[in-house]
């Protein structure tokens, strides 16, 4: 039993794989940034009156339960034109919506609990010194929340890069989609999947190393 390796068959797809890698990174980066940024206002809403926070909390729990693939498909196949009379999003935008919403649900809850865990004596003594409310938020609450949520968020961001492969199901030209196309013409499936694996190793490993450094940084350890 033997297998004849032939990566050269994938040669014509070199550029396509490179572009696919770029889209993978793009999907991961944009959904991470948007998910984290939108997590902040959501976290603040979760701390409001129960009329707001209870339904929002339930919605967030529901979103966390739904698989990312279903969120992406839902964002893409939602009957926008029939219900709202507007055209649906492109596969790229639908994928970004699905990935962002999934991360948003996690971020909002993490940030909310981090805000609640800011030591009360730090906030009280800053107020007692004459800090204004925005100064308390900027200089006491914000740094504390960032230090609490950064390690878990870096794990979410790495996860987003990998989950972006789901966008291939609706035809976004990222790495996995390129591999599928290449396979269908060359029939070199093992080589194609190994190429995709290598792309992810190259994209994700630096992030993992960075996350480890951040976790060990003295700034983060001084809690």
């Amino acid at each position: 039993m033997s297998y004849n390796w032939d990566f050269s068959a994938l040669g014509p797809y070199k550029l396509a794989f490179l572009q696919g890698a770029c889209w993978t990174l793009y999907l991961g980066a944009v959904s991470s940034a948007a998910g984290s940024a939108l997590g902040i206002p959501m976290a603040l809403l979760l701390r409001q009156h129960p009329v707001v926070s209870v339904p929002l909390g339930l919605a967030i729990d529901a979103l966390r339960a739904i698989p990312n693939l279903v969120l992406i498909l839902g964002a893409y196949y939602f009957p926008y034109s029939r219900l709202f009379g507007i055209p649906g999003p492109s596969p790229l935008v639908a994928s970004l919506i699905g990935l962002t919403v999934a991360q948003l649900a996690y971020s909002a809850d993490l940030i909310r609990s981090a805000i609640e865990a800011v030591p009360a004596n730090q906030v009280l003594s800053a107020r007692a010194l004459g800090f204004r409310e925005w100064q308390v938020a900027r200089w006491v609450v914000f740094p504390s929340v960032v230090r609490q949520v950064l390690p878990s968020h870096m794990a979410l961001w790495i996860g987003n890069v990998k989950l972006s492969s789901l966008a291939s199901t609706i035809g976004v030209h990222e790495s996995v989609w390129v591999a599928q196309v290449a396979m269908s013409t060359t029939f070199r499936s093992l080589e194609a999947w190994m190429t995709v694996g290598a792309i992810y190793i190259v994209l994700v490993t630096p992030l993992t190393l960075l996350a480890r450094r951040v976790e060990r940084s003295s700034w983060l350890r001084h809690q």
């Binding site: 003594s125 007692a128 010194l129 004459g130 800090f131």
Partner: protein, 257 residues
């Protein structure tokens, strides 16, 4: 030589606050002259913390009037100035140190000056060094709060309020949870601060020795009221109110036992 006229710096009339809290303040009156220290003693839950929070707008008052240097800042329980501008003049030193853990001691002492007094970094650092020397933490300026001892932390916490030069410092048990030597260093620093800069203090403490050393007058706070006020020379034996007498003798005998 004629004595300098004694001026009332803080006047509080009929203060009521803390409804629903553990310590309630009601019908509380107080006058503090510039450069003096008022010791406040009483049982736990007598309303000391509520008093301090209400005077700095950290807790709403329900009734009462208060003046700082003749300017009214509390009218019928309502603050008539922005709370943060009031706290520049009347600064509470909380019982628990609340230094920012991700900043060095030096940065912790500089930041409030930069934010509250709009000082430049250089000015703020210079003042931080001066005060750090005064309270004896100048060797710890570059350390982080997690790297210094509890006593040093308490001193840094106090220094953070001192660098702002408020007119009145409200000291809530600042020498609890520290060793006797640190307690003495803090007391000496406060003494120096009062003599050097004419700052007034309201001092809540369970430690009668510190009250005796720093205070000019001593108040017995009981059930939220200023039940009796005596000069420190008569403290703790000179209270005439029976409740105050019981409290003082219990404390003294407990210490002797």
């Amino acid at each position: 030589m004629a004595e300098a006229p004694v001026t009332t710096l803080l006047r509080v009339k009929g203060l009521k606050a803390g409804y629903g809290e553990r310590g309630i303040i009601s019908a509380f009156d107080l006058e503090v002259e510039r450069g003096t220290c008022i010791g406040i003693v009483g049982y736990s839950g007598c309303g000391k913390t509520t008093l301090f929070k209400a005077l700095t707008g950290l807790m709403p008052a329900e009734a009462g009037d208060a003046w700082l240097d003749g300017d009214q800042f509390l009218t019928s329980g309502k603050l008539t100035v922005q709370p943060w501008s009031l706290r520049r003049h009347i600064t509470l030193v909380t019982q628990q140190p609340g230094l920012l853990p991700h900043k060095s001691v030096l940065e912790n002492l500089a930041l409030p000056q930069e934010l509250v007094l709009q000082k430049s970094k250089e000015e703020a650092h210079a003042e931080a060094r001066t005060v750090a020397k005064l309270v004896g933490i100048d060797a710890e300026l570059n350390a982080f709060p997690s790297e210094i001892s509890g006593g040093q932390l308490q001193r840094a916490h106090l220094a953070r309020a001192m660098v702002l030069h408020p007119e009145i410092l409200l000291l809530d048990e600042v020498t609890s949870n520290v060793d006797p030597r640190t307690s003495e260093a803090i007391t000496d620093a406060l003494d120096a601060l009062r003599d050097g800069r004419g700052i007034s203090f309201l001092l809540v403490s369970h430690d009668f020795a510190i009250v005796r050393k720093l205070a000019d007058r001593v108040i017995f706070l009981h059930k939220g009221r200023n039940l009796e006020e005596i000069p420190v020379t008569e403290f703790p034996g000179g209270f005439r109110d029976p409740e105050a007498q019981t409290f003082a003798s219990e404390r003294v005998s407990r210490r002797e036992r």
